[in-house]
Amino acid sequence: MSNLDQCPSTIDKATGSTKSSIAAKDDGVKLGKVSGKKYWRSLEEYTGTQEFTEFVHREFPKGASMLGEATRRNFVKIMGAGFAIAGVAAMPGCRRPDRKILPYSKNVPEDIIPGKALYYTTALPLPGGGVEGLLIETHTGRPTKVEGNPLHPNNQGKTSAFAQASVLGLYDPERLKFPVYNNPTRGKLDATWDDFNAWQKTHFAKFDENQGEGLAFIVDKKSSPSRQRLINAIKARWTKASFTMWNPAESRGAIDGSALAFGSPRFTSYDFSSAQRVVSIGSNFMDEGPEALKNSRTFASTRKVLNSGDSMSRLYAVEAKPSGAGSLADHRYRVAPSEIHNFTIALAKAVFSHTGVNATGLPDATVTGMTPKVIAEIAKDLIDHRNHAVIVPGDDLSPECWALCMAINSSLNAMGNQVTVTPMGADLSGNANEELAALTAQLNAGRIDTLVTLYANPVYDAPGELNFPSAFARAKTTITLNDAMSETEFASTWSLNGTHYLEAWGDAAGADGSLSIIQPMIAPLYEPAHSDIELLSTLAGDEDTDGYTIVRDSWALMGNGSVGSSGFESSWKRTLHDGVKSTQDEGGIGNLSMTKVLMAAARKGANNAPGQGSMDVMFYTSNNNNGQCANNGWLQELPEFGPSVVWDNPILMSPNTAKALGVLPEHSWQDEFNPYTKQQMPQAQKITVTLNGQSMTGAAWILPGMADNTLAVKLGYGREIVGKVGYSVGHNTYAIKPSTTGMTTRGASVKKAGGTYTIASTQNHWSLEGRHSLVRAMDKVWWDKYGNETKVVKDAVYGLEHSTLNAAEMIGELSHTPPNISIYENPMNDSTGDPDPTKLHHNKALDREVPPRYTQGPQWGMSIDMNSCTGCNVCTIACQSENNIPIVGKNEVAKGREMQWIRMDRYFVGDDLNNPDEILLQPVACVHCENAPCETVCPVNATVHGDEGTNDMAYNRCIGTRYCANNCPYKVRRFNFFDYGVVKFNGGLNPNYTSVKADELFEKTVAKDRTFNQNFIPPRLRKKLDEISKMQYNPDVTVRSRGVMEKCSFCIQRIHQARQDVKIEGIWTEDDQVGPIPDGFFNVACQQACPSGAISFGDILDPESQVSKEKESGRSYLLLGYLNTRPRTTYMMRVRNPNPAIRAFEHDPMDHGSHGDHGGGHDTGHDEHNDGHESDGHGETHGAAYIDRAKQYFDQGYSMSLKVLS
C-alpha cells in the first residue's frame, strides 16, 4: 500500500475516505484520512493486517528458505540420504568427461548453420476462428521459441501468451506416442497406424452403402480452408454424416447479434487508431477474440502521449470483472452482466435522443451504481466526437444488446471508420452448443455408430447438464485424434496420436480474410503421427494423404493456379516466406437494419439486477485456454490477470458479495504456534454453486472491482486425464455450464460448503512495503499544465537528466529527499569526487587511459509505459521461454518461490475495496541500477556491472548467499531453492496429484517414481531425466542449477548476438563508436512480444532511439529514484483522461499549499522538510496523511541513514 501518486507534502488535501466495512476486520488499521489516492494490491494490504506486515518485512515469505517440511529431523534424514548418494555419485566425476562431437553425416540440411538460429514463419489457429502469424526460432531443427510474424496483418510481430507457451506443448513428455486400440475383451492394446488403416478400410466401407448413417464427427472450431474442403468432401461422400464444430467456450453475442443487425453472421473488426472516445461494454477486447492483439496495438497507439498537450483517447469501460480494457479505462464502472444490458439500452436511448433516431420503444432501464446523468454525459461525449467514437460490445452480451451497440456505432458514424464487418463462414457461425446437444440426443438414442473426434475434448468440456460422457460411451465405435492426452482419448475405442501444430502442414484463415500457411518446424516427435486434415483425407479415401499435398491442393483451389504452374509456385513460396497472404478486401460497413435492432431490443426488455439468491455467472477462459493447455506448466503458473492466482480457478466475486455470503478468504498463518513449520498458504472457503439444477463445489476468492452478486467462473481446470502437470488442478467448472446460453448466464445460487481450500496467489509477493510512488498517475489536465515543465534541483544527483526533475519526478519523493552523497563512483552522479564524464581516466588493471563508465555506447535501457500496459502477461511467458526459466509448482509458489523474472504488479486505486477507482499495472523485472545495491553485498562478485550498463549475473560464481536479494530494493531476484530447471520439478508441482489413479492412466509415461522428492537427488542419478522437455531449452542461455540466484539479464544473449552480427555484417563502422547497434536491430523477448508496445528497449545514448525519446518524456520516472540507484529501466506515468463532466479533476498535484509556490520553494525548503519527516508531529503538521507507525519508523531510519552518509 501507501504509494502516493503525488507530492508527499501535499497529501494534506484530504478528500475524506469512505472506509470499506470489510476493513473493519482489523482494528489496527491505520488508514486515517487518506489524501490523493491509495494504491493497494490485496485485501491484506488494504487493511494492513498483521500477517501482511509480517509478510512484507521478510525478503522471502516465511518458510521460503526451509527445506520441504523443515524439521531438524527431516533435515538430517534428507541430508544423510543426500550425502550417501553424493558419495556414490562423486567417484566417476574425477575423470575427464569424454565429450563427443556428432556432425551430420550423409544428408546435411542445407540451411542449418550449427550455432545459428533459423526462423520460419507459421501460424497458430485460434480456437473459435482467427489466426496469429508466428515466426519460430529453431536451433538445428528443433523449435525453441515462438515469436510474432511482423508481416502478419493481425498481430504484426506480437504474440499472445497462449502462442508463446505453445512451444512447451510440443515437448510435453506425456503426449500420446502411438495409437491405442481398446479391444472390448482384451482391454487397451498398443497399436500402429498400419493397424488403424487396415481397420478403418473395412470399418468405413459400410458407410458407402448407407450414405454415412450413424457416422458423426466432432472437430474443434477453427477456420482452416483445407479442413473445410475435406469436410465437404466427406459430406459429399457420406451425405448423412453429421459434423459438430465444437468450441466449449463459445460466446454467441457477436455471432447472433451480427445476424440480427446485418442479416447474416459477420465478423467485426475494430481499428482504434483514429478513435478518440471508446466505450467498452462488457468487452475484454484487448485480451480475447481473434483480433485481441490488433486491438491492443491500435488502442495503445492512442494512449502514448509523450508531451503535454498530445491528444489522447478516452476509454469508458462498463464491465463485471476487471479486464485489461478496464484497467486502462479512464472511467470504469463495475456492472453485473444483467445490468450491462440495461446500460446499453440506457446509453442507446441517450445517444439516439441526440441523433434523432426514434427509440421510444426501448424500455426504461436503470443501472446500479450509475446515475442517469453519468450515462447522459457519456452519450454527450460520444456525440461530441462523432466519427471518432466507437462502442465495443462484449462477445457474450445478448444478441439484442450486441446489435444495439452496433446501432449506436452506426449512428455515431463509426461503421466504416472504426468498425468494419466481414462475412463469417458457416464453419464458424454455427451454434456449437446446439450442435453438441443435438449430437448428444442422437447418441443417447443409439443412432450413432461411429463417432470421430478431432482435436476436441467433449468428454471433458461438454456442458455438465448434457452428461456427455455417458452419451459418448453409447457410440459403438469412437475414434479420437489429439496431440495431447485427454479424457476423450482415454474413453475412445481408437485413441490416435496427432501432431502438434508445429509438426504438421495446415492452413488457417484470419478473421479479416487473410490466409496463413501452417508450416511444420519439425517432423513429428513421435512418428508416425497424423494431423486432422491427414486423417480426414484418409477417411475420405484420398490417395495422397500427405498434409503437404492437401494444403497445396487447397491453395490451388483458392485461385492460385494449378499445382506446379509457375504462378502457383511463386505465390506458394512467397506465402511460405511471408507466412501470410493478406486479403485485398477492406471490411464493409454492413447494412444495419436499425428498426429491426430496435424492435428486438424493445422486445427483450430490461433485466433485473442480480441478487444474492439469483446471481449472475460469467464464464471466462484465461491462460490455459478452455482446458486445452492444462498440461502446460508455463500457463498454469502464470498469475491470472486480476486475482494473480496460479494453478487454480477459484470462483471470483466482489468482497461485498463474499462478505454477505460469509466466504471471505482466511489465512492459515495466524496460528502463533510453531511459526516455522506453518505453511503460509491463503485459504479460500469452499462453496457450492448451483446453476440450472447443476451444482459444483469450488473455492471462493475475492476480486476487488467485480460487480456485486456476480460470479466469475474460469473454465478449463479440474482435468483428470491430461498428464502430470494438469492433473486435477482446480475444479471442473464445465459441470455447471449450461448448454443453452453462452458464456454469461443468470440465476446461480451459492451455498457455503464448509472447509477450506488452499490458494496460491502471487499478489502480495515481492511487495515493496514502505516505498513510495511506485506507480504514479496524473489527470490529463494537470499533465497538460505541467507535462513539459522541469525543475533543476540542487544536489539532486539522481534525476533522469542531470539535476533535472520532470513532471513525473516532481510528484514523487525525489523533490523531497535531502542531499544525497553517493558511495558509488559514477560519472553520472554529478557530485564532486565522481569522475568527469568527458575525460579519460587511467585504469590500473588495464594500464591505459579509458573513458569513464556509462559514457560509451551502447548503454542499454528500457522504458515501460503504464499508459498502454494491459496486463496480458505475455512478457512473463516470453521471458520464461527465452531464458529457460523453470516452473516450480503450486506449493512452491505459495511459499513465494516463483521464478518468473517479470512480475506483473497490479494496484487497485482508491479507498473503496469493492469499487476501486482504477487499476494500475506495472510489470517489474530487474531495473539494472547503475548504482546497484546487490553488487556491493555479493561476497564472491557473482553479480557485477557490465560495460554497457547491464547488471550481470555470473551463475557459475554464485554460491547462493542471497545477500543480493536481501539488498535489492525492487525485489526482483529469484533464487533456485531446488533444481527446478534441471528436471521437471516433481516435488509438489501439483499437490492434488495422487499416484493411484494416475499410474493406472499413464503407466507408459513418466508418472512413476514419485514416492520421494527427486530434488534431493543429484541430477546425474535421476532416472527420469526428461530428455524431451530439455529440447525446448534455449541453447544460448545457461540452465541454472540449485542454489543459484537469477534475474532479468536484459536478454544479454540477444545483445551479444546483435553485437556479433553487427560486427560481422560490417554495420558497425570504425568511426561510429557510439551507438553502433542500430535501434530496432534486435528486440529483447518481452519487448518483442508486447502487443501494445508498452516496452521499449535500446541504447539510451542514441538520441534517436525509441527508448531515449520515451525517457525524455515528462512521464518518465525512476522507480525508487530517491535511493540513487539510477535504474536503467524507467516507467512512464499513467495519464488519466477523465471526463470533467463526470468526475472532477483531482486537485493540483503540484500545489504545495503551505510550502509556498512551486518553483523556488523546494530548493530552499529541503532542510525544513526533512525535519518535518523526522518529527513525530509530521502527521499533525500536514493534516494527517496516511502514515502508519511502521512506515514512520522506516522514514526516520531512512532520514537518519542519510544524515550518517552526509
Binding site: M91, C94, R96, D98, R99, K100, I101, L102, P103, Y104, S105, K106, N107, V108, I113, P114, G115, K116, A845, L846, N941, V944, H945, G946, D947, E948, T950, D952, M953, A954, Y955, N956, R957, D1036, V1037, T1038, S1049, I1052, Q1053, H1056, R1059, Q1060, K1063, I1064, W1068, E1070, Q1073, P1076
Partner: protein, 324 residues
C-alpha cells in the same frame, strides 16, 4: 599382555587404514581391473610389516611392566621436536600450496590432452599442412557462427569417395578411410572426441574472434603440424583475460587468420643473433630461432593501427561478456 593388546590394536588400525586407502585408490582406477583379492593380501602384508616395525621399536625402547626405571621417557633428540615440527608443518603447508598452485590448474590438467580419435582419426598435418587445405574448407561456418562446426561426413566424401582421388593415393589410403565410407553409407555420424572444451557456462564465439583478426593459432596452436590434435593452451579464464586486456599483440591481418604457418613464422621464427650480428647456430649447425618482438613483426603489410581497427571495439572484460 597390555603391550600385546596395544600392539595388536595398532597393527589392526594400520591394516584398516592402509586397507581403506587402497580401497579408495581402487575407486579412482580404471574400471577394467578387479584385483580385489590381491589387494587384500597386500593389505595383510603391509600390516604385518608394520607390526614387525612396532615390535622392533618396542625392543629398542623397552618399558617393563609400566615402570620406566632409569631411562628417560623421551629420548634426547626429541628436544628438537618443536623445531622439527615447525619446519615440517610449515614446509607441508608450503608444499600443499605449491602443489595446488601447480597441479590444480587447467594448465596442468588440460594442456596436452590428446584423446584417440575413432578409427584412424583425422590427420591435420597431412590435410591442413601438406595438402594446404584452408581451415575453412571443413570448418565452414567458423566466420558466421559462434560454433565452429566439425565437417559432416559428406565433406570427407568429397575427396575420399571411391575412385575420387588419384588411384595410387586412393589405394594407399583405402583402408584408413573405410570408416568414413561406412559412416556415409549408413548415414551415421562419426563420433569425434571433443578436445577443446569451454564449459557450458562460458560462451566462446568463434565468429567474433576470427573476424576480429584472432588467428586459430592463438588458441589451437600449430594445428597444421599436428598428426593428432592435442590441446596446447589452457583455455582458462585467466588466459582468456590476458588476451582481452591486451589484444593487439595477438592480432594478425584478417587474410592470415587461418594461415598458421605464416603466423608461426611471423611470431616465432626469428633467427637468433649474437651481439655482433652473427647468426647463432645450435649443435646440429642449424640457426637457433626465438620469438619475435611485436615491434619487429611485419603484419603482412598491415599497420598496427589497421590491425587494431579490425577489433572495432575493445574486447569486453565484463563477466557477462562470456557468462550468461
Amino acid at each position: 599382555m597390555q603391550l600385546k593388546l596395544s600392539r595388536s590394536c595398532i597393527s589392526c588400525l594400520i591394516v584398516f587404514i592402509t586397507g581403506s586407502v587402497r580401497e579408495n585408490k581402487q575407486n579412482f582406477g580404471s574400471a577394467e581391473q578387479h584385483p580385489a583379492e590381491k589387494d587384500a593380501r597386500l593389505d595383510v602384508l603391509v600390516g604385518v610389516d608394520l607390526w614387525v616395525c612396532v615390535v622392533i621399536v618396542s625392543k629398542l625402547y623397552p618399558f617393563n611392566g609400566g615402570v620406566l626405571a632409569l631411562k628417560p621417557i623421551f629420548p634426547k633428540w626429541m628436544n628438537a621436536l618443536p623445531t622439527i615440527l615447525f619446519f615440517v608443518v610449515h614446509g607441508g603447508v608450503v608444499l600443499v600450496i605449491a602443489g595446488v598452485w601447480y597441479y590444480a590448474t587447467p594448465k596442468f590438467w588440460e594442456v596436452g590432452y590428446m584423446p584417440t580419435q575413432p578409427s584412424t582419426g583425422f590427420n591435420h598435418q597431412i590435410h591442413a599442412g601438406k595438402l594446404g587445405l584452408d581451415c575453412r574448407y571443413c570448418h565452414t561456418h567458423v566466420e558466421e557462427s559462434w560454433h565452429s562446426n566439425v565437417p559432416a561426413v559428406s565433406t570427407c566424401m568429397g575427396c575420399h569417395a571411391e575412385n575420387k582421388l588419384n588411384v595410387d593415393l586412393a589405394s594407399a589410403t583405402d583402408e584408413k578411410v573405410q570408416f568414413i565410407r561406412d559412416a556415409y553409407e549408413q548415414d551415421k555420424p562419426i563420433e569425434w572426441r571433443n578436445i577443446h572444451v569451454v564449459p557450458d557456462y562460458a560462451t566462446f564465439p568463434h565468429n567474433a574472434h576470427v573476424n576480429a583478426g584472432v588467428s586459430c593459432y592463438s588458441c589451437h596452436g600449430q594445428i597444421q603440424g599436428m598428426p593428432v590434435v592435442a590441446q596446447v593452451e589452457s583455455l582458462s579464464m585467466g588466459w582468456c583475460l590476458d588476451c582481452h586486456r591486451n589484444p593487439t599483440e595477438n592480432l594478425v591481418p584478417k587474410d592470415k587468420v587461418t594461415d598458421l604457418f605464416w603466423v608461426e613464422t611471423e611470431w616465432f621464427n626469428k633467427t637468433k643473433t649474437d651481439k655482433d650480428g652473427n647468426v647463432v647456430l645450435d649443435g646440429a649447425g642449424q640457426p637457433v630461432l626465438e620469438p619475435r618482438d611485436t615491434a619487429e613483426r611485419t603484419h603482412n603489410g598491415w599497420t598496427p593501427e589497421e590491425l587494431t581497427a579490425t577489433l572495432l571495439r575493445n574486447p569486453p572484460l565484463s563477466c557477462a561478456a562470456c557468462h550468461y
